[in-house]
Symmetry: C2
């Protein structure tokens, strides 16, 4: 386990050649005789040489720039922790010569996204890390990045997985299933349950599908109704929620598919089991006083941090990046929420 660390010089000595020759063999630069190449390869086989990533990087000595596209945290509080994650990663990798620059766009404005995107691409960074709340397949961001040789990665919101697309995030279908399992354990059989959406987001259908698939698979015959609300002006929604609850007064469990569980929870009786997403302040408050039973943690901070981290260590130390990194789906109750507030 603790063999000596071999250097190129060591290999050269062992093979009876100069370090230049070893270098050419290692990097396949040619201009090496068969005999020399063989003797170097022989040594390499015997010693399992691993280049010192520190020395390598020192030589490269490049400043790496990572641009990050994300919705403006001022428009949607959900993105605050993601932004924090970026700042933390920026701090961590700064002394290694990695800079992180965020570009904000308006969550549901395609034009704003496109502008931010163009601006970021124009600056020719080494990598572009993007959280997209809008459909981007139609845009030519992929083409532009390929042209300019910008490494492209996505976090938080899945962009259809293909070979060469990197994604850091969660399986939303599966998180819907987890919500379903939790609810099904907490309510009596033959209950009436509701899936509640607030506003329109790409991913909520995935969550509802996952939710329903669990009940189908388990052959649980609870009734599941779906309902959507739009949060334009607050009073509006309150009235809507109240009338919904009056009309459906036998509901014993609710699954809110995004971070807005707190809006719904305020109108609920305590005996309704409620499951939502994300550790926003108002959600946590309601989790602690028992109006919300569980929150599913999408870990936006960690996603952002890992996104930057993977890219940085790839550039710095040549670590490979896997196409898809799915974070564990954490079940949060009032008793373990504290561990996740700053992680």
């Amino acid at each position: 386990m603790d063999r000596k660390k071999y250097t190129i010089k060591d290999i050269a000595q062992l093979a009876g050649v100069s370090k230049g020759t070893v270098d050419r063999v290692l990097h396949k630069r040619g201009k090496v005789s068969k005999g020399a190449e063989q003797s170097v390869r022989l040594v390499l086989e015997q010693i399992d040489y691993q280049p010192n990533p520190i020395a390598r990087n020192l030589k490269h000595n490049k400043l790496y720039r990572i641009c990050v596209l994300l919705p403006n945290p001022k428009e949607d509080l959900y993105w605050i922790p993601a932004h924090d994650g970026l700042l933390e990663a920026a701090k961590e990798y700064k002394s290694f010569g990695v800079t992180v620059k965020p570009y904000f766009y308006h969550p549901y404005d395609q034009v704003s996204f496109r502008q931010a995107c163009e601006k970021a691409v124009e600056s020719s960074p080494d990598a572009l890390l993007a959280a997209t709340t809008i459909a981007i397949e139609s845009l030519d961001i992929f083409k532009h990045c390929k042209e300019k040789n910008i490494l492209l990665a996505f976090f938080n919101n899945h962009v259809r997985a293909k070979q060469d697309r990197i994604f850091i995030g969660q399986d939303l279908h599966q998180s819907g299933r987890i919500a379903a399992q939790l609810l099904s354990k907490l309510v009596k059989r033959n209950a009436i349950l509701a899936v509640v959406h607030f506003d329109k987001e790409q991913h909520m259908q995935l969550k509802e599908d996952g939710f329903r698939s669990y009940f189908l698979e388990q052959h649980i015959s609870d009734t599941i109704i779906s309902k959507s609300f739009l949060t334009g002006s607050d009073t509006d929604v309150s009235a809507e929620i109240n009338s919904f609850l009056v009309e459906n007064d036998e509901i014993s469990g609710v699954f809110v598919t995004n971070s807005k569980a707190h809006i719904f929870a305020r109108h609920c009786k305590k005996d309704i089991v409620l499951i939502g997403y994300d550790l926003l302040e108002p959600n946590i408050e309601l989790l602690k006083n028992g109006k919300i039973d569980f929150l599913i943690h999408q870990k936006p901070k960690r996603q952002a941090y890992l996104g930057v981290g993977f890219l940085a260590e790839h550039f710095l130390f040549g670590k490979p990046i896997s196409n898809e990194y799915l974070l564990p789906i954490d079940i949060i109750s009032s008793e373990n929420v504290s561990y996740h507030l700053d992680v």
Copy 2:
């Protein structure tokens, strides 16, 4: 956010001195005139200099050795993932010149622990990372490490926290509380619940205390009974468990305080809510078929991996290590278990 990266040479130029002088100021080696020191400090204040950790480490160019004390995974399967975590960390940091060497001891044998410990200390590593299933306060491991200037850190099993002791692990009291909350949500009120211990382990009392504290705080008047089993020969325990279940046939929820929930679960009716610890194969199997409802994940693999990682990055890049790193307490059900199997 993306200012230039300053080097010592840059500072020297800006301050109008040589790099040697800058170096002396930075490292407080003295032999610098007041005037020179001032002009260097002035520059330093303006540019927020951060030394390139890569270059620094390349110069140091030391081989760091980390010895790890842990129970032999062959004696207790719980430690297999911890060992995996060590191997993974060893692989990750090998090319940086960090070597990891495990020393196994028999889980409950103080003599065996002491021997392993002495052997490890004798080899004068840079750090000693220990998972202790036995009381060690009486041993002079602390003194020896201090004498030989070995950085000492613990993972998995808490050693009383003091200023200069590093611990990576979980809050066991709190994990007991989480088990309590889950159980209380899943059973009807005024239920009869059991806390079940297998064998004798230091930490199980902490978990039971946490468990009971939750019910006390919430003023839930469920009945909680405690029971211990010793797993000498398997048939023995089976009989004991069966008779316990017959005698207490009104139990509707059980909390097993270590990784041996599977032993108990096999004898249970499915309608008893069961919560245990750790993702051992047999536990996972029972989680999937519904006999176990939730497992609390102590993440031994991650603990070991992080333990090595913290030490390595401390040595390599001078990252500070916090005294206590408490991992989040994960609630695992059959629907999110897959994410944790290899993490």
